[in-house]
Symmetry: C2
Subunit: 193 residues, 2 copies
């Protein structure tokens, strides 16, 4: 303990990272600020000096995860520069990898379900970030030369979203196990016409 990694990083970043991880694993309402600060090696006062409230922390966490997701998208472009179809297949592969590696699904979708209050401040952020991801997938499908790009993108979106939640209800051996086959079949089908 007391290693450089833990000590050098600013408390705010440690809190943000820890909160992301704990919200993801245990859900937002399943984690209290005390548990977060303790796991982050700090205390509640420091948290409230950097974040207005727990709701504010939640929002910052969602923005942070959205940033990480954007970095993954950028990696597709870096790996297959200009080849949008290859990037689309990479998206399918990456989505499947993340399904297998983690069974707690999408933080934003989970948050939307947990925070049922329609006027919760996090809701508009969730919608905004999810719409950005949707736009990105639509663009990818369109630039890959697929007809009805929006319909394909939306179908893939729902498939992935469904796979992530199905994982949590029926488990990994359920319908989500066929995600890659479904997605690839859809892409092929949309390209054929």
């Amino acid at each position: 303990m007391a290693d450089g990694t833990t000590e050098r990083v600013r408390p705010r970043d440690r809190i943000l990272e820890t909160a992301q991880d704990m919200f993801h694993k245990h859900g937002i309402k399943g984690v209290g600020v005390d548990a977060i600060t303790e796991a982050a090696g700090t205390n509640k006062m420091t948290l409230y000096r950097h974040f207005e409230s727990k709701d504010d922390l939640i929002i910052e966490c969602l923005r942070a995860t959205a940033c990480k997701a954007a970095a993954i998208w950028d990696a597709f472009e870096a790996e297959y520069p200009g080849d949008k179809l290859a990037q689309l297949h990479a998206w399918v592969r990456k989505a499947a990898d993340m399904l297998n590696a983690d069974s707690r699904g999408c933080d934003m979708a989970n948050a939307a379900i947990e925070l049922s209050e329609t006027d919760h401040p996090a809701r508009r952020v969730i919608k905004e970030l999810k719409e950005a991801q949707r736009d990105r997938l639509v663009s990818l499908c369109r630039d890959a030369g697929v007809g009805q790009a929006e319909l394909l993108a939306d179908t893939l979106s729902l498939l992935l979203e469904g796979a992530r939640v199905s994982m949590q209800s029926v488990g990994a051996e359920g319908p989500s196990a066929q995600f890659v086959r479904m997605a690839e079949g859809l892409i092929a089908s949309f390209r054929a016409r």
Copy 2:
């Protein structure tokens, strides 16, 4: 108030009905037993005389909603006796209707997300009930004479599950708006081969 409807129904059933409704609207962790009993026109002691714990109440609520879902399935058979393909299309229509009528999604999926503890007693019930629904959809697809019935059923499952959660994150104008077109397209595509 104090009308026959409220008074005649046994407290246990009133609690069960009210809890289902409130869990659905506000989430499981978003509503306490006090609020449930008050809304049900009774009190906490009576609740705990009929249910061992809140977890027990949760499980009974999930079983009750599964029963209601089963009744909807039975209605398909009653409306199109023997015509499995018509029943499959009725399933799509009904799913879309429920998407439009209510934006809080599937109680079982929501519960699975909210109750992140892997050993929560409700988890095995959720899995069991979801698997039963999956089996039913697979049978319907198979009996409708569709090749690769399991794959079609699983794809439709994920699409619907995704639509229900997408509804809660991006809203009704998001990808879920295309659910019927996607589902019908898939059925047609699977039947064509």
